[in-house]
């Protein structure tokens, strides 16, 4: 997609895919945003400390120099203010990207997102093509306000889409789809994945997207289905490898990638094949995404089940800070192994 005329203006740190070099999860997102901003002048980004500083995690590094202060906007600490401003710009045909410095702070804009943004198309006030993105998730000792997974709070809001990728390839393809989508998309970036060396991969050098609303079979198997997303995909992979080695269990892992709308078809197909379902998420348990998935399986695939569906989730508590507390709070591969064994032996 890059023309010869554009190429020289792209600095090295966003040319890795172009050169066939592997990128991290974070770099994949940066490339995706960068390429969309090059491609479409109506795309701009706003948030706290994203300009000269390049963002708390450096996702927007270099963007101010390349795109200027009218398209890379440092904002006051005002989640309602800049989320609302993004909505106004989207009304005018812009495609804003809102960066929440930590996704925990998205709750400050809860009213603007659920009451204003999510309902706009339905109210006939016009669809709002905007992305709200930010670092989410635990395991980095961030404590109660730098570790949350608030997706379930928005899962219940018709009008929104929610994307939560687990690989660099999906992250880049999905951020591009999110930016091009005509409806508001919440894009969660698990910060534990941002710089993990194991996630570095070589991405296509040409423009590509990954569709919103489509799950991905992360690992094929026949004995048991694990439906999960984000960082837990990798914890489940670890568990599946162990279950294969020690128990001879052949586990299928469905990576949802998009939480809203749910790819119900993909979940149903897998469960009808394996007859056993385990849902794993890092978010807390009560009112979480897992409950909805299990309800749908109960409604639509009850007779296919050989065991009661189970959930492995964080416990119903705020995210604690101290390592022993957080490690216990978060679902671990061991928990997945234990639940899978229960299901397999049922």
């Amino acid at each position: 997609m890059t023309t010869a005329a554009e190429a020289p203006t792209r600095p090295d740190h966003v040319r890795q895919s172009e050169r066939g070099e592997p990128v991290t999860f974070l770099e994949a997102i940066r490339e995706g945003i960068w390429e969309e901003m090059e491609r479409d002048e109506s795309v701009f980004i706003l948030g706290e400390d994203i300009g000269a500083y390049g963002g708390a995690f450096k996702v927007t590094e270099g963007m101010l120099d390349r795109f200027g202060e009218m398209r890379v906007i440092d904002t006051p600490i005002s989640e309602i203010g800049f989320t609302g401003a993004a909505a106004g710009a989207a009304h005018m045909g812009q495609r804003p990207i809102v960066e929440m410095q930590f996704i925990d702070f998205i709750s400050c804009a809860y009213d603007m997102i659920t009451n204003y943004v999510a309902t706009s198309r339905y109210r006939q006030a016009g669809g709002l093509p905007m992305v709200i993105r930010g670092p989410s998730g635990g395991g980095v000792r961030g404590g109660p306000f730098h570790s949350q997974n608030p997706e379930a709070a928005f899962f219940h809001t018709p009008g929104l889409k929610i994307v939560y990728p687990s690989t660099a390839r999906d992250a880049k393809g999905l951020i591009k789809s999110a930016i091009r989508d005509d409806d508001p998309v919440l894009f969660f970036e698990h910060k534990w994945l941002y710089r993990r060396p194991q996630l570095r991969e070589v991405l296509p050098s040409e423009d590509y997207t990954v569709p919103i609303g489509k799950a991905r079979t992360h690992r094929e198997g026949k004995d048991l289905t694990i439906v999960t997303y984000a960082a837990m995909v990798h914890k489940c992979q670890e568990a599946a490898d162990l279950l294969e080695k020690e128990d001879g269990l052949d586990v299928e892992i469905i990576d949802l990638r998009t939480i809203l709308p749910l790819d119900e078809q993909a979940i149903l197909e897998s469960v009808k094949k394996t007859n056993r379902l385990l849902v794993v998420h890092e978010d807390t348990r009560t009112g979480g995404i897992a409950g909805e998935i299990m309800a749908r399986i109960n409604e639509k695939a009850f007779e296919y089940l050989d065991a009661p569906p189970l959930r492995v989730t964080a416990i119903d508590a705020p995210v604690p800070y101290s390592p022993p507390l957080e490690d216990y709070f978060l679902p671990q591969a061991d928990d997945v192994v234990k639940a899978a064994r229960y299901l397999a032996g049922y």
Binding site: P76, S78, A85, H91, M92, Q94, M112, Q124, A125, G159
Partner: protein, 356 residues
């Protein structure tokens, strides 16, 4: 419509022509009469839900919006009204039949029966309806006007909020954002003395709402909200500042809400004497007409003719709206997303046959 080729007498202020003055009168009349007709329909149970009146506030609604560059091709100024800015909406080109169909929840209303009353948008004519969480349109209009700035368009935005909404976080965050970005935005604070039943003394400890302008580093002005031409002047100055790159302004208009919060509200918190005093001595239409006559800017015959035209226009609109169809139930599934209709599961009953 603000500049028909007719020389204005020198004594008319703010570069307004005599035609402008009559046009303003027409909008004032339309606002008040439309609300009277809505009140009749409400009493006949033909309105779905509540009715919100702006009696006593029509002057500032009409005058502020009249200061904008109003177009119908999506290149003019943008405005976001409050529930009591029917007058602003009519000035921007919203039609009485649209408003009536909205209030009757009709299927061909601007929101297709999805949203209430004057909560509707038209980007061609330049208005974005409010939503009920007050103050939210301040950040939204900051973003609208940010876009004007990003694109180098000489367009202006205007957003209304009441004395009550100045207490919201959205107001604070929105005006601060606009101020920092020097957005071409005019923020109108309508101080009508009550937020539902709550008096301003319980809303703020500030002596005046206009004092908040200093805190945000924006231009501030306070104006007698029931003096139509004074309001126009203040709005015009703020709009001109915005258009010439001088950033955001805050205008406090002092007015009074003579009806309850909505038609159901018997307003026990307002004394009858207080209401009567405003009605008899400080009604914006009475004052405006008196000004027109005192300066010989209009004749009784002219105003009477306008009032009759307005009455006819609105009677036609009521008739049209009453005959409009209600929405089909299944339309509840439309327009949640651009790319897919939401589905109803089989456990939900089938929708009724629209043909009965």
């Amino acid at each position: 419509m603000a500049s028909r080729p007719r020389a204005a007498p020198a004594s008319i202020p703010h570069d307004l022509s005599r035609d402008d003055l009559l046009e303003i009168y027409r909008h004032l009349r339309r606002t008040r009469t439309l609300e009277e007709k809505l009140a009749n329909l409400f009493r006949q149970s033909k309105i779905v839900g509540g009715l919100f009146r702006s009696l006593g506030q029509e002057g500032e609604s009409v005058a502020t919006a009249y200061a904008l560059d109003r177009r119908t091709d999506g290149t003019g100024d943008m405005l976001s009204p409050l529930i009591r800015n029917l007058g602003s909406m009519l000035v921007m080109g919203a039609t009485p039949t649209e408003v009536l169909r909205q209030y009757m929840a009709k299927g061909d209303s601007p929101t297709k029966g999805k949203e209430l009353n004057i909560h509707f948008a038209c980007y061609q004519r330049g208005f974005i309806g409010q939503i009920s969480p007050l103050g939210d349109l301040v950040p939204v209009m900051a973003g609208v006007t940010l876009t004007f700035k990003q694109r180098g368009e000489r367009r202006v935005g205007m957003v209304y909020l009441g004395d009550g909404a100045t207490s919201t976080g959205a107001f604070h965050e929105g005006i601060n954002f606009a101020a920092v970005q020097r957005c071409p935005l005019v923020v109108i604070i309508e101080n009508n003395h009550y937020a539902y039943s709550t008096p301003t003394s319980k809303q703020t400890a500030a002596a005046n709402f206009v004092d908040k302008a200093d805190g945000y580093g924006v231009h501030g002005e306070q104006v007698d909200g029931n003096d139509v031409l004074a309001v126009y002047g203040a709005a015009r100055r703020a709009v001109d500042r915005a258009r010439t790159g001088e950033g955001t302004s805050l205008i406090e208009v002092l007015t009074y809400r003579r009806k309850g919060h909505a038609e159901h509200d018997a307003q026990p918190y307002q004394s009858k004497e207080e209401i009567a005093r405003w009605e008899s001595t400080n009604d914006p239409l009475d004052r405006y007409v008196a000004t027109l006559f005192a300066n010989e800017w209009a004749t009784d015959e002219e105003l009477t003719a306008i009032a009759e035209e307005v009455d006819e226009e609105l009677d036609r609109a009521v008739e049209e709206a009453e005959g409009a169809p209600m929405p089909e139930p299944l339309e509840a599934l439309d327009d949640v997303y651009a790319d897919a209709r939401v589905t109803a599961p089989w456990t939900r009953r089938e929708p009724p046959d629209p043909r009965g």
